[in-house]
Structure formats: structure tokens, C-alpha cells
Amino acid sequence: MATQPLTDILPDAAVDITDVVCPVTFVKAKVALEELDEGQILSVRMNDGEPVQNVPRSIKEEGHQVLKLIDNGDGTYQLLVRKMGE
């Protein structure tokens, strides 16, 4: 189950924010997004709990498009987000 690809969306880059805590979680994801071009897709791996309840929403509020949020089933989530322009 966990090894199976859960989505047909192919990310252009990936970042893991499970190794940092609030508020750096959001900052790390934001920095990763800044390195992408508009329209490209970032995959963000984050922990369950506080990060998944705040980071996807905060990224959305920054104007990016949240495509999918996948429960990896191991206490982490994968967020797929499309970078939008300023």
C-alpha cells in the first residue's frame, strides 16, 4: 500500500519538512516553493498533527494551488502543490 503510487501527479521537486518544527515547517516549504517556476509542482512530506493542520492551509493562503493531500499511513502526509505567481 505505502509503496504504491497514490497519485498520477508528477512533482517537479520534493521537500521533506518532517525534520523541522513549527514555525520552520512552513518556512522550509515556502523556500522550496520559491525555487520553483510558476506552474511547477512541489511535493511536501510532513508529519501528522500540527504540521498537516497548518502547513497545507498556509501554503494555500499564500496563493498556491493545493492539488492533493495524501495520507502515507505512517504518520506522515504528502502534499502536492502547484506554484502560482505573485
Binding site: V52, N54, P56, R57, K60, V66, L69
Partner: protein, 286 residues
């Protein structure tokens, strides 16, 4: 000339243990001061006080060590710099607020705007005893609404939008009240468990919740000599008109049932919570 301490106190001048020195209480609404006001306060404190200010437990500012003979001049200089003096005694005190929706991402209501409205309507109004309003933006309760005679807490009345939902599962985890369950096809909301915290709507990355702002009121809180937590007796209020109708009724009840120097809580306890609830219910229903 005999000194009218009571008049001084009503104007926010608190007598100090040092002879003929007063600590001047300033009017602050919702914990906001502009940098211009702070400049004025700094100047007055340097010139007429001892260069310090005291921050009170309810977002107030006091300038201590004002001399009796400077009282009028100080008032004028403060007024010219956009700073009003506060009040003491048996009346509606400083209306406190957290930063709320205008600044804090967790906020469900515009606390500052509401604090200003409450203050404009009631500040300084005479009552049997002191009366405190506090406004907090959400269930996190940074402003501790229930410590106040009348506490206002922001909440969201939420409803799920099936079409936008991807069943990602975040909202059910964000809900701390066990009010949400996720099935194969939908999110089920148990209204009886929902406390209007808004966490579901705030955490959803797909905007799949509608959240309508509302006010949750608590009555009879007091944290002085007597310690008691304000009680919620009404459902969430959805409009300001009802909010003010209820607040008017609460103050009228205090006027009608309160004895001098008795806090709102004690008056409600003596008159009976059933009687109080009846009066508040009637106002709520309009």
C-alpha cells in the same frame, strides 16, 4: 482646599502610598496604542512622573508619581497628544481584546473593532460595581474571556461543502471535540459536540468548509477576591444586533438587581441564575 479623592479616582487618578502622588490610569481599548500615543505617554511620564509606566493585568497603562498640582496640566497634555484618561470605581472599565481576526490567523472575529464598539457604547457607564468586558478571537482564548463580567469569544458556525472536499482527512484530525467523522463518501458533523472552534474550516486545504463568524458570551466571571468563571448560557450569536441587545439586558439586570459594591456574579447568584437566564433569553430572542 479639600482634595476630592473620589473625583480624582473617577478620572483615573489612583492615590499612591506616597503623599500627594497619583498613578494615572490611561484609556486603552483592546490593547492597542499608536506610536504617537506612546510618544505622548513617554513625554508625560518623563516630565511629570518618574520616567516609568506600569502595564496593568488588563492591557492598561498607568503613569505613576504624578503630583497633585500637575493633575490638570497632565490631563491636558495627554488629551492634546490623543491619549484619554481611564476610569476607576463602579463603572464599565477598559475593554480588553486579543489581536483577533485582523491579525491572528486563528481569529474568528474582528476583536479590536468589537472592543471599540463595546467601549464606545458602555465605557465609563455607572453600575453597582466595576464591570469588565473582554473580547477574545477564538477558542484558544488568549484573552481569557471567562475572567470578565461579560466575556465575548469568537467562534465559527461551520458547514461542510461536499463538492470541494477531497476527503483528505485533515479536518477530522483537527477537530478536538470528536464532532467529525469521515465515511467513504462524506464528512459527518455532530452539531451537539461542535464547540465552534473553527479548526476544521481553518485547517482544510481545499476550502471545503463555510464558516460564519459568531459570538459566544460568558456571564459573571470575576477573578478578584471572589474567583468564578463566566458561564455560557446562550447558543452562538450570529449578529451584532443580538449581541448588543443581550449586553444591554445584562447591564440592565445588574442595575436592577445589584447592590452597591457587589460584583455582577454575586448579584446573579443572589437573584438566581434561572431569573437571569430568563432575562437574557428574552433579550436573545428579541
Amino acid at each position: 482646599m479639600a482634595i476630592d479623592y473620589k473625583a480624582l479616582k473617577n478620572g483615573g487618578f489612583m492615590r499612591q502610598i506616597q503623599k500627594d502622588r497619583f498613578s494615572l490610569r490611561l484609556k486603552v481599548v483592546g490593547g492597542h496604542l499608536t506610536s504617537d500615543q506612546l510618544d505622548t505617554i513617554t513625554r508625560v511620564s518623563r516630565q511629570y512622573g518618574d520616567g516609568r509606566v506600569h502595564l496593568t493585568s488588563r492591557q492598561g497603562v498607568e503613569i505613576p508619581f504624578i503630583r497633585l498640582e500637575d493633575v490638570e496640566t497632565v490631563k491636558e497634555e495627554l488629551a492634546a497628544g490623543g491619549v484619554d484618561t481611564g476610569v476607576c470605581g463602579p463603572r464599565v472599565r477598559t475593554v480588553t481584546a486579543c489581536q483577533g481576526q485582523a491579525i491572528c490567523p486563528s481569529g474568528c472575529i474582528d476583536t479590536y473593532a468589537l472592543a471599540v464598539e463595546i467601549s464606545d457604547r458602555y465605557f465609563g457607564r455607572q453600575l453597582p460595581h466595576k464591570f469588565k468586558f473582554g473580547v477574545t478571537g477564538c477558542m484558544n482564548n488568549c484573552l481569557k474571556a471567562e475572567e470578565n463580567d461579560l466575556g465575548v469569544k469568537g467562534g465559527l458556525a461551520v458547514s461542510w461543502k461536499k463538492d470541494a472536499c477531497t476527503l483528505c482527512g485533515v479536518c477530522t484530525k483537527a477537530c478536538r471535540e470528536g464532532a467529525l467523522t469521515q465515511t467513504e463518501t462524506e464528512i459527518v458533523l455532530d452539531e451537539s459536540r461542535c464547540n465552534h472552534c473553527g479548526r476544521c474550516a481553518k485547517s482544510c486545504p481545499f476550502d471545503a468548509w463555510d464558516g460564519a463568524s459568531g459570538y459566544i458570551l460568558s456571564f459573571g466571571g470575576t477573578f478578584g477576591n471572589l474567583i468564578a468563571k463566566g458561564e455560557e448560557i446562550l447558543p452562538i450569536i450570529r449578529d451584532k444586533e443580538t449581541l448588543f441587545r443581550v449586553a444591554d439586558a445584562a447591564l440592565a439586570f445588574f442595575d436592577a438587581h445589584g447592590r452597591p459594591s457587589e460584583r455582577f456574579r454575586v448579584s446573579i447568584d443572589r437573584a438566581g441564575w434561572d431569573t437571569f437566564k430568563e432575562a437574557i433569553r428574552a433579550a436573545y430572542e428579541g
